[in-house]
């Protein structure tokens, strides 16, 4: 798991991951890149991350992937990420394509639902919590 201040260098990260696994005998490599779209007048998105629980979440996914002979990778930005740059990158390597296709879907969807990351729109330099696009985590409401 890699965390960076500001936008991600997608080409460097994808290329490095590919090089690292070049001799690992994986038949499939499926990368996913999330890019900030220009919409609703935003100049950037901004992110807070709580690293201890994100790491635990990611470690759990590494174990789930390992049970299927695969590995998962991810990188995420902290702070402001301007439109048309990348905030989130993930990838799956697996021996054959079917496992990788299934895992990238499940991994990215669970990331959206349960990774402890908070998103803000940046408009006129102001940081505004993206409440309408945010999802309560599994188990939410315990104290309510």
């Amino acid at each position: 798991m890699e965390l960076y201040e500001g936008p991600l260098d997608a080409k460097e990260i994808f290329g490095r991951w590919l090089d690292e696994q070049a001799a690992s005998n994986y038949g499939a490599y499926i990368p996913f890149v999330g890019t900030i779209r220009a919409e609703d007048g935003i100049e950037a998105l901004s992110f807070d991350i709580y690293e201890p629980i994100l790491k635990a979440w990611f470690d759990d996914w590494q174990e789930r992937a390992a049970q299927r002979g695969a590995i998962v990778k991810m990188a995420h930005a902290i702070g402001d990420v301007p439109v048309h740059t990348s905030s989130y990158i993930s990838a799956v390597f697996s021996p054959k394509r079917r496992v990788a296709l299934e895992l990238i879907d499940a991994f990215v969807e669970d990331f959206k639902a349960n990774a402890p990351i908070w998103k803000y729109d940046v408009i006129d330099g102001q940081r505004i919590y993206a409440a309408d696009r945010s999802t309560p985590m599994d188990g939410a409401g315990l104290l309510g």
């Binding site: 999330g34 992110f47 807070d48 709580y50 201890p52 629980i53 635990a56 995420h76 905030s87 989130y88 990215v108 990331f111 959206k112 639902a113 349960n114 990774a115 402890p116 990351i117 908070w118 998103k119 803000y120 919590y129 993206a130 409440a131 696009r133 945010s134 999802t135 309560p136 985590m137 599994d138 188990g139 939410a140 409401g141 315990l142 104290l143 309510g144």
Partner: protein, 73 residues
Amino acid sequence: MIRVEFLGPIGKKPLEVEAGTLKEVSDLLKQDEALAGWLQKCAVAVNDAMVGDLDTPLKTGDKVTILPPVCGG
């Protein structure tokens, strides 16, 4: 004392409270008007492990973390 931390957009400084279970923390936080509307949407961790039981026991030095709705990517 139990330390209670509020993450992301809640924008509230940490609290130090006396509590023996998560239920007691819940009862205390419900009295805080600044948290109205948050608690029903937030998940909870104790010492950085997600929890789902109000009877979870707490001891001095434990950390309770309040996690509002997320949106990574």
